[in-house]
């Protein structure tokens, strides 16, 4: 019985204890349930994102650069098929071994291997390394033959930049190269579309229009497992090609210009005097932009860098030169506009024995025996220095500077399009005080009158100046990329309405001009200057008479210039050496500006030959050949212009 009572007691205890235990179990179950609720219901989104992050990995595919063409749709920057070899790191069992094998197959150089190891240091274990960007067909086929021995190596057909006219357009189009950290930081578009191995523009149009050209990268999404192995492709947003660009350049004229400049340092610029289209912007010497695409070799780079004629300098817009006598039409125009003198004003040029004197300083004309009594037209035509010393003295440097700036000197022609473009210098009394902290001397005014001294211009500025004189004195908008907003007919009608507008009181004061606004006070003054330039090329004793075209349709007007690189001493004058006898570095720069055709001007040009000697001998003859080509191609260009307008 006792036992039974004991057992009853035990049964009671066990039931009570079980009850407590079950209660505890229910409590614990509640905790687990609420935890599951928390994970799967409340925080579902968070964990879904984490799960996708786990399982989905993105690979970016490189964008395709836009194509660049000239005005006539000739491709000047193309995308070319290239053979590459990539190494997928996650599939490589022994990296050193793979590189060693590859080295033997595709002949990698020591420094290339060093670069590969550097790249490997920076990459993630699932990245793909580009071992070689540009294999020859022979190497590529050899690689494919040995592929089974190379784990992780992948032969890839890719595209890269190719410039079919290699050297001819490098100063316009520029070149591409690997994106640096700086490139990525500076341009948002590059940052957004960056993929390893992305090429970006380094200079020229490639650089300034990078944002338009670059395109958008694609994204391939793969499902991957825990060790990063691709299981399946989930989606592929295809990469897009960047915008195609049509430049205003005429490839044929550009090529002719480069040909004419061959073996010399210099520049040739050609511009449409109404639309401001830069038709040619040649700079010599040049170099091959294709060498930069896959990284230039030290050897090639040194060759370019150490060339005494400085191929890397874009002389058209970053080369600064004294304009020399090419500024004379502008000095004459300024004097006429301000009414300082009239066209009948005469000065006697008496030769080296009787130079122009001012406060004891003597200023010589280039012509040893003198020009005799010169009127304004003759002074421009024969480029008499004495005449312009006197005109400049009467005019004053500040008025000259104001007119020079108005016609395009002293500021960037293509604004910020090219980072390397230079502003040049158009001196004035104020400029000298501010920059050099010195007062102006009258003697400095005198030499500014013949384009020497402080004044510094780029060949493109001279071309623009000529254009704005030749179009009758209207401000134009220079451009290098075809822009449908710039319409010839609209420009011409704008100019027509400006012509008939009454002149404002401010015309001779310093102020900002809008595009296609008239820049002159009296149209007769401009006409006079242009006529004098005609004389300079087409009449006997004109400085560029020998370079004239006899045929009416090619007739052009121009002005030579010879820019001294050092002061001519009395001794030099005494010796009167031939060009060949002077040291290259001391020879004068030869310049020539012109517009054509004379009766109905349409194109302006500037020619510069560094250390070429005199403008009439070295620069003007090139203009003769160029102008023929430019005018021959005029019809075709106008046809394209109409077609483009109709498409729009």
């Amino acid at each position: 019985m006792i036992k039974k009572i004991g057992n009853l007691n035990k049964n009671k205890i066990i039931s009570r204890r079980l009850f407590i235990l079950v209660a505890a179990k229910i409590g614990l179950l509640g905790i687990v349930t609420s935890r599951l609720y928390n994970l799967q219901i409340s925080q579902k989104e968070k964990y879904e994102v984490l799960s996708d992050k786990n399982r989905i990995r993105e690979w970016k595919t490189p964008p395709q650069r836009g194509i660049i063409t000239d005005y006539f749709n000739n491709v000047i920057a193309d995308n070319q098929r290239v053979y590459q070899v990539h190494l997928s790191l996650e599939e490589v069992s022994n990296f050193n071994n793979s590189i060693f094998k590859l080295k033997n197959i595709i002949s990698l150089k020591e420094d290339e291997i060093k670069k590969i190891y550097e790249k490997k240091e920076k990459s993630k274990p699932w990245d793909t390394l580009i071992i070689s960007e540009n294999l020859s067909w022979k190497e590529f086929s050899k690689l494919n033959l040995y592929l089974h021995e190379l784990d992780g190596a992948k032969p890839v057909l890719s595209t890269s930049r190719y410039y079919p006219y290699s050297n001819d357009l490098v100063h316009v189009v520029g070149y591409v190269g690997d994106a640096t950290t700086q490139d990525i930081q500076n341009k948002k578009k590059i940052e957004e579309n960056f993929v390893p191995g992305l090429k970006v523009g380094k200079i020229g149009i490639e650089n300034s229009k990078d944002t338009d050209l670059i395109g958008n990268h694609g994204i391939k999404r793969y499902e991957v497992n825990a060790s990063g192995k691709k299981i399946s492709e989930i989606s592929y947003n295809k990469e897009t090609q960047g915008e195609n660009l049509r430049t205003t350049i005429d490839l044929e004229i550009q090529q002719l210009a480069q040909e004419l400049l061959k073996n010399q340092a210099g520049s040739i610029c050609v511009m449409d005097i109404y639309t401001g289209e830069v038709i040619t912007m040649a700079s010599s010497p040049t170099y091959d932009p294709n060498k930069f695409t896959h990284g230039i070799s030290t050897e090639d780079w040194n060759e370019i860098k150490n060339n005494k004629l400085r191929p890397l300098l874009n002389k058209s817009l970053a080369g600064l030169y004294s304009p020399g006598s090419t500024i004379k039409p502008l000095v004459a125009l300024a004097a006429l506009e301000y009414g300082i003198i009239d066209t009948k004003f005469k000065v006697n040029c008496k030769g080296h024995d009787h130079p122009y004197e001012l406060y004891g300083e003597r200023y010589h004309c280039w012509k040893k025996n003198g020009h005799g009594w010169m009127s304004m037209r003759n002074a421009i035509k024969q480029s008499c220095d004495i005449y312009f010393y006197e005109v400049a003295r009467l005019l004053g440097v500040d008025k000259l500077s104001l007119i020079a700036k108005r016609y395009g000197l002293g500021s960037k022609v293509l604004e910020d399009f090219f980072s390397e473009e230079k502003k040049g210098i158009v001196p004035s009394t104020k400029w000298k005080k501010q920059v050099l902290e010195q007062s102006w001397y009258l003697g400095e005014t005198v030499i500014t009158g013949i384009g020497q001294g402080y004044i510094q211009t780029t060949p493109l500025q001279l071309c623009l100046m000529t254009a704005q004189l030749a179009n009758g004195g209207y401000k134009i908008k220079p451009n290098l990329i075809y822009d449908k907003e710039i319409d010839l007919d609209i420009i011409k009608s704008k100019i027509e309405s400006e012509k008939n507008k009454s002149v404002s009181q401010n015309i001779l004061k310093d102020h900002e001009f809008k595009y296609y606004e008239r820049l002159y006070r009296n149209p007769k003054n401009l006409k006079f200057v242009l006529d004098a330039m005609y004389g300079s090329t087409n009449e006997q004793f004109g400085t560029s008479f020998r370079s004239r075209h006899k045929e009416d349709k090619y007739k052009f007007a121009g002005k030579t210039g010879t820019s001294q690189v050092k002061r001519i001493t009395d001794q030099d004058r005494e010796l009167d050496l031939n060009l060949e006898e002077i040291e290259y570095k001391s020879r004068d720069h030869a310049l020539f500006i012109a517009f054509a055709p004379y009766d109905k001007p349409r194109y302006s040009l500037s020619v510069l030959i560094e250390h070429g000697g005199s403008g009439s001998k070295a620069a003007a003859p090139l203009a003769n050949k160029l102008i023929k080509k430019i005018l021959d191609r005029h019809e075709l260009r106008e046809k394209i212009r109409k077609d483009l307008k109709n498409i729009a």
Binding site: L18, V32, Q40, Y47, L50, S51, N54, V224, N225
Partner: protein, 376 residues
């Protein structure tokens, strides 16, 4: 009294026995069993290969064993309880000398057809042993030091042997189920409180004797991001898998976390994670509910048993089963450190399946022979 007992103990007809079977419990076990087969099938990305085949075979074999054991008289287990315990200890000792090592611990003995993990068997042996032990003790004697010390020694021996394998998880489960029975038998609450305090005080010492990987697991539990690619990886990936399952889950065979091998040990300790990823919150609740029903049925059988041994065994086994389930799920959802405890029936593993089915068989035998008033 004695006469009636012996009379009763022999008067079971086969029909009586079949009538007494708890079919509901069998159905629950069958359902959970089939769910486990599908889950293992999913760990193999829907291929009916090695793990699935093995698991299915084991489940069928041990399910059959469960039914066979059900018809073994409960008094057999009562009589053989200490033998069972001693056998368990012997096997554990055998492991030390002839055990097979895997991933740094020695837990298995090769028995040709299967690798037996004696510690799993010990989980059941301790319950049977304690049920017998307390069956005989008067309630007034339970609190005495003599009767307190004996079970503690009985419990410490297997726990020590298992910890040194090392297998902290199983040791905790053995200790936990032993303590549950001591509690059910009626040991005064104050002893639990005292021992709890002693444990707290000795914790620094315990930690100092832990293996470095065990320490790291515990530290990682408190801050999984401490080492996201090392020790914390399992917890983080398991939580991602469960959380991303959402309400209804990613669907059968669609669990990306496990399919893409982000989930370690997915067919053993982390089977719940896979299940939860594919079937979501609803699926998890269904599984938990099935387990709850299973435990409820076991407790019910305990209540209907006349003998104290059967009662204590059923309640003890139910508590132990709950403990296994709770520790496993709490572990994979990040509520407890990862200690290595399989989910009953669901997890891949022969020994675990064997011990659960054996345990359930004894429960069923308690049901069938419920009128047996055991040993005096």
């Amino acid at each position: 009294m004695i006469l009636s007992t012996s009379l009763n103990s022999t008067s079971y007809s086969f029909i009586d026995k079949l009538k007494a079977v708890d079919y509901f419990l069998i159905i629950i076990v069958a359902i959970i069993g089939s769910m486990s087969v599908f889950s293992i099938y999913s760990t193999e990305s829907g291929n009916f290969s090695f793990y699935t085949k093995n698991h299915l075979t084991r489940f069928l074999v041990f399910f059959f064993m469960f039914l066979v054991v059900s018809f073994v008289r409960v008094s057999f287990w009562y009589k053989q309880a200490y033998i069972f315990y001693i056998l368990g200890i012997l096997l554990l000792l055998l492991v030390i000398f002839f055990g097979i090592s895997a991933s740094g611990s020695k837990r298995w003995i090769n028995f040709f057809i299967m690798n037996l993990q004696p510690s799993e068997l010990m989980k059941i042996a301790i319950i049977v042993c304690f049920a017998r032990y307390y069956h005989r003790i008067q309630s007034s004697d339970i609190q005495s030091y003599k009767y307190l010390l004996q079970p503690i020694i009985l419990l410490l021996i297997p726990c020590y042997l298992v910890i040194t394998q090392p297998d902290l998880g199983t040791a905790i489960l053995i200790a936990g189920s032993g303590l549950a029975i001591i509690w059910l038998a009626g040991l005064n609450l104050k002893y639990f409180i005292y021992s709890g305090l002693i444990l707290l005080v000795s914790l620094p010492f315990v930690i100092s004797i832990l293996k470095p990987y065990q320490k790291s697991r515990i530290l990682t539990f408190f801050n999984p991001d401490r080492d996201p690619l090392g020790a914390g990886y399992q917890i983080i990936q398991s939580k991602i898998a469960i959380g991303s399952g959402g309400l209804l889950g990613k669907g059968f065979l669609q669990g990306t976390q496990s399919y893409l091998e982000f989930l370690p040990e997915k067919h053993t300790d982390f089977i719940f994670t896979l299940f939860s990823e594919e079937f979501g919150f609803v699926g998890s609740m269904v599984l938990i509910l099935l387990y709850a029903l299973l435990i409820y049925r076991i407790i019910r059988i305990g209540f209907s048993s006349r003998s104290f041994f059967a009662k204590l065994y059923c309640f003890g086994f139910a508590s132990a089963l709950f403990l296994y389930i709770f520790v496993n799920i709490a572990m994979v959802v990040g509520l407890l450190p990862i200690v290595g405890a399989p989910l009953p029936i669901m997890s891949y593993g022969g020994s675990s399946m064997l011990s659960i089915m054996l345990g359930l068989g004894i429960v069923m035998s308690c049901k069938i022979y419920s009128r047996d008033p055991i040993g005096n």
